[in-house]
């Protein structure tokens, strides 16, 4: 029965009604392996033949995913080097002779923007999204492959424009990654000329490119799932990426208009964000605008952006923990609703970044309440991860280590988020290093842990070989222990009252008491940064000499491991699309011979197993 549908050109999609009525006669009640037939015909794939169409202007989502991954990693390394330079200045002032305050602020800005948008967002959605979505839902490719290709190249141009700003007169913008006007476009801030314009152009290109990719992810997940892959049988990775993409489609437009309006203020002297301003004894030509309006636009994008990064990480880590604990993810339905709920709530919390911005202070009550409500579904996710470990059969390999590192750093960062979300507690801590430590822990290090875990987990699929486990362990422990010793003590700088974005501390007594800590943090930062090159070395080394992985090396259940060839080829599934009979978490089912039952295993093959949920 499962093989009855063959893809033929000219196949007419049937309405679901006619399928159900006609299939009653064929014995739904008796055949336990019955899966509803496909409703849509298979798409025609574009097959590239030349090197350029196969590897450069490629329309295969897997190659596009790798392209996104490599370019995002490249920008990420630039962001890393910038952070080294910043930490050099903070820990050892004057050690880098060329470092002026202008440079410092430019590095702060570019580091922030690169890491949040061009590294994390592009990596999770462009990289993992492209590679995994079609494979995990059992599609041959994204539904709009050409658009997908254009999406990557828009990202490429966006990165090029961003990096070009390093070479224009005045250098890149130094307005902080939040780009708050009026300072962003006024003299007194480095890069207030070409720098900020190129930043806005680059963001606009990024959003345009991302919209093309995002439409692909959404429609592929909604329309191109294979037979039997119901929404509630999708791996949580797909749920995370799906919800994050919905958020991105709704949030990025706010950034887009914010960037456009700021460019108009800069180039055409409109006054969207510009009130009457006195600068160097002269009244500027602006008047009547509101700087806070920009902050609302920015954070209406900026807060969902946190979850655009976090939700794919939540999804991926759930899958990794489940596979390597040999146990179903605990409370799958709760996990799905938590992802969707967090996504929805994330649009009602943005102004918690603005408690002391000068907006109407009465907003504080509302936004503190919504912000702390988000803590509930988030906490449920954490409980479910550790309850998945409970009574599991935990493989303590490198992948699992990254997951454990994620739990520690995420819980730590989540708890400090409760400090900052709780409006009056935020007052003494906002704009201090407590905030810096918090968001690095929760949306820098924690998602990075997941990315690393995912790299070690899926590398055998992408490259067909395992990464070296010993190098991986070095990489993990240096990164985890190092990053933790950067950001854990940094919270206490915030308690002292050290403000963010200070090029130098001067001689304020309570700040200079932390000189030793700053030196320590900087040293740790150099080590953690250097440790990332272990991964690059590991990848280069194992591409040639690594242990071959073969089929489904982790004994996982989800579809991406069940392709006929490893690594999967163009079109993913060979002749026939897979048919899905169950959720991807049937690990250690009582009565089954193996400790895993793949999604494509029909019930008749595992008759003795006592499956609770399919």
């Amino acid at each position: 029965m499962s093989d009855e549908y063959e893809n033929k050109t000219g196949y007419q999609a049937q309405s679901s009604e006619s399928i159900t009525s006609s299939s009653i006669g064929s014995g739904v009640a008796t055949d336990i392996d019955y899966v509803r037939p496909a409703e849509n015909a298979e798409q025609d794939l574009y097959h590239g033949h030349s090197f350029i169409t196969k590897w450069i202007f490629c329309q295969d989502a897997k190659v596009i995913g790798v392209q996104y991954f490599l370019l995002a990693t490249f920008t990420g390394v630039i962001g890393l080097v910038l952070s080294w330079l910043m930490r050099l200045q903070l820990g050892f002032p004057g050690a880098a002779g060329f470092m002026t305050a202008e440079h410092y602020y430019q590095f702060v800005t570019m580091h922030g923007m690169i890491m949040v948008v061009y590294f994390l967002t592009a990596l999770f959605l462009g990289g993992f999204g492209n590679y995994l979505i079609p494979l995990m839902v059992g599609a041959r490719d994204m539904v709009f492959p050409y658009l997908n290709m254009v999406s990557f190249w828009s990202f490429f141009v966006a990165v090029a424009v961003l990096l070009a700003s390093f070479f224009v007169p005045g250098g890149p913008t130094g307005s902080g990654w939040t780009l708050y006007p009026p300072q962003a476009i006024l003299e007194g801030t480095p890069g207030s000329g070409m720098g900020i314009i190129l930043m806005c152009v680059s963001l606009i290109l990024f959003v345009a490119g991302f919209t093309m990719g995002g439409l692909n992810y959404l429609i592929t997940i909604l329309q191109a799932r294979t037979r039997g892959m119901t929404l509630m049988r999708m791996p949580l990775t797909v749920w995370g990426i799906f919800t994050a993409t919905v958020l991105a489609m709704l949030a990025f437009p706010a950034l887009l208009v914010g960037s456009l309006m700021m460019m108009l203020d800069k180039l055409l002297a409109t006054s969207f964000f510009m009130p009457t301003i006195l600068k160097a004894g002269e009244i500027l030509e602006y008047g009547g605008g509101s700087p806070i309006l920009f902050q609302h636009l920015f954070w209406f994008f900026g807060h969902p952006e946190v979850y655009i990064v976090a939700l794919p990480a939540f999804g991926i880590v759930s899958d990794l923990i489940s596979v390597h604990s040999r146990k179903n993810i605990f409370g799958y339905r709760m996990m799905v609703w938590a992802i969707v709920g967090i996504g929805a709530l994330s649009f009602f919390v943005w102004a918690h970044h603005m408690y002391v911005s000068g907006m109407n202070p009465w907003f504080g009550f509302f936004f503190a309440t919504t912000t702390l409500i988000i803590a509930v579904p988030t906490a449920m996710k954490v409980y479910n991860w550790i309850l998945t470990l409970w009574r599991g059969n935990i493989r303590l390999n490198v992948v699992m280590l990254w997951c454990l590192g994620f739990i520690v750093t995420f819980v730590n960062g989540g708890i400090t988020g409760i400090f900052l979300g709780n409006v009056s507690v935020d007052v003494p801590l906002s704009d201090t290093y407590f905030v810096v430590a918090h968001f690095h822990m929760v949306m820098g290090i924690a998602p990075l842990m997941v990315i690393m875990g995912a790299v070690y987990h899926w590398f055998p699929l992408v490259a067909g070989r395992f990464l070296n486990e010993t190098l991986g362990k070095w990489h993990f422990w240096l990164t985890f222990l190092g990053a933790y010793s950067i950001y854990f003590p940094m919270h206490y700088l915030g308690f002292i009252g050290v403000p963010r974005r200070y090029f130098e501390m001067y001689d304020s007594p309570y700040m200079t008491s932390a000189v030793g800590m700053n030196e320590f943090i900087s040293t740790a930062a150099f080590i953690v940064g250097a440790a990332q090159f272990i991964l690059i070395f590991n990848i280069i080394k194992t591409l040639k000499t690594g242990k071959p992985a073969g089929h489904n090396p982790w004994q996982a259940n989800s579809l991406e491991w069940l392709t006929p060839s490893v690594p999967p080829e163009h079109g993913n599934w060979g002749e026939k699309l897979p048919v899905v009979h169950r959720w991807p978490y049937d690990f250690s089912v009582p009565g089954s011979r193996e400790d895993f039952i793949t999604q494509t295993t029909p019930p008749s093959d595992v008759k003795d197993s006592k499956v609770e949920k399919t």
Binding site: Y180, P182, K327, F330, L387, I394, V408, M517, F587, P590
Partner: protein, 291 residues
């Protein structure tokens, strides 16, 4: 070493660091002890959850690490447990939120007897203005600002004439007297922040923002700019001197009012004119001489 033990040591180290840290908040010098208390409460509840979750994780890792002949438990859902955890978390969140909102309510409700201080910020400096004998600050406009009128006071506003102007980045405050800080900026965002007072708010060009506190410890404090305002941000410092009533009254009586300033300027202008006249006269004389 077993990874579980290293994770355990990390948790232990975090707790020990918190107990023995030499770096903690500065001695509080205002009425906002409630903020510190809420932080402490959040530390207890939040820190407890952090330690509990991580220790449970460590326990699982130690107890259930991979054995070939063992099979993991198969239990997709446990509705009862999930319900308990949801409600317990909700309760914890409410316990943290409630005091936070109570204190925020105090923060945004300024006492009637608070002394208003106009804090004016620019790239990169501060100056201050206090109400004169009429107890009211005059209205201002950015376009009025010039050398003769450094605060941009509207000249036709009668309340403005007796305003006390402190053209210095240090302001004196009376101990145990609530202060309402009125913030304004002439160019970009700034933020007038004294760590010991715990409170802060952005100064936003185009509008006047506010917050209040009551200093309760005599001494000198440093003012930091806490909102990024361009390349001089890190050096934008000021000062506060909290004084007893007698010292404060003495200090304030020595300060200049707006009308003093205008009078002084007019006098200066008059003198300038005289000098110019004189000069011209002398110059002319010289010219005549040469001819």
């Amino acid at each position: 070493m077993h990874p579980g033990i290293i994770f355990f040591l990390v948790i232990l180290g975090s707790v020990l660091f918190h107990i023995f840290t030499p770096w903690y908040w500065t001695d509080i010098a205002s009425n906002w002890g409630g903020m510190d208390d809420t932080i402490t409460l959040t530390f207890w509840i939040g820190g407890g959850v952090f330690v509990a979750v991580c220790l449970f994780m460590v326990y699982c890792v130690l107890k259930f690490s991979y054995k070939k002949d063992r099979k993991a438990e198969y239990k997709p859902e446990d509705k009862k447990l999930e319900k308990i955890l949801t409600w317990a978390t909700t309760l914890g969140v409410v316990a943290l939120l409630a005091p936070g909102l109570v204190i925020w309510n105090q923060y945004v409700s300024v006492p009637k007897n608070a002394v208003e201080v106009d804090v004016m910020a620019w790239q990169w400096g501060w100056q201050y203005r206090l109400a004169g004998e009429d107890g009211k600050l005059g209205t201002t406009q950015v376009v009025n600002i010039n050398d003769d009128n450094p605060f941009g006071i509207n000249l036709d506003d009668p309340f403005g004439q007796d305003d006390i102007m402190i053209q210095s980045d240090v302001i004196n405050l009376e101990n145990n007297k609530p202060v309402k800080i009125l913030l304004r900026s002439v160019d970009v965002l700034h933020n007038w922040y004294v760590p010991q007072f715990r409170s802060k708010m952005d100064a936003v060009p185009g509008i006047v923002t506010y917050y209040w506190f009551e200093p309760n410890k005599i001494g000198e404090y440093e003012v930091l700019c806490a909102e990024y305002c361009g390349v001089g941000h890190y050096a934008m410092r000021g000062g506060v001197e909290v004084q007893s009533k007698e010292d404060y009254d003495k200090w304030i009586s020595e300060q200049e009012t707006f009308s003093d300033l205008i009078a002084k300027q007019e006098k200066l202008e008059l003198e300038n004119k005289k000098i110019v006249k004189n000069n011209n006269f002398l110059l002319n004389k010289d010219i005549y001489k040469e001819e």
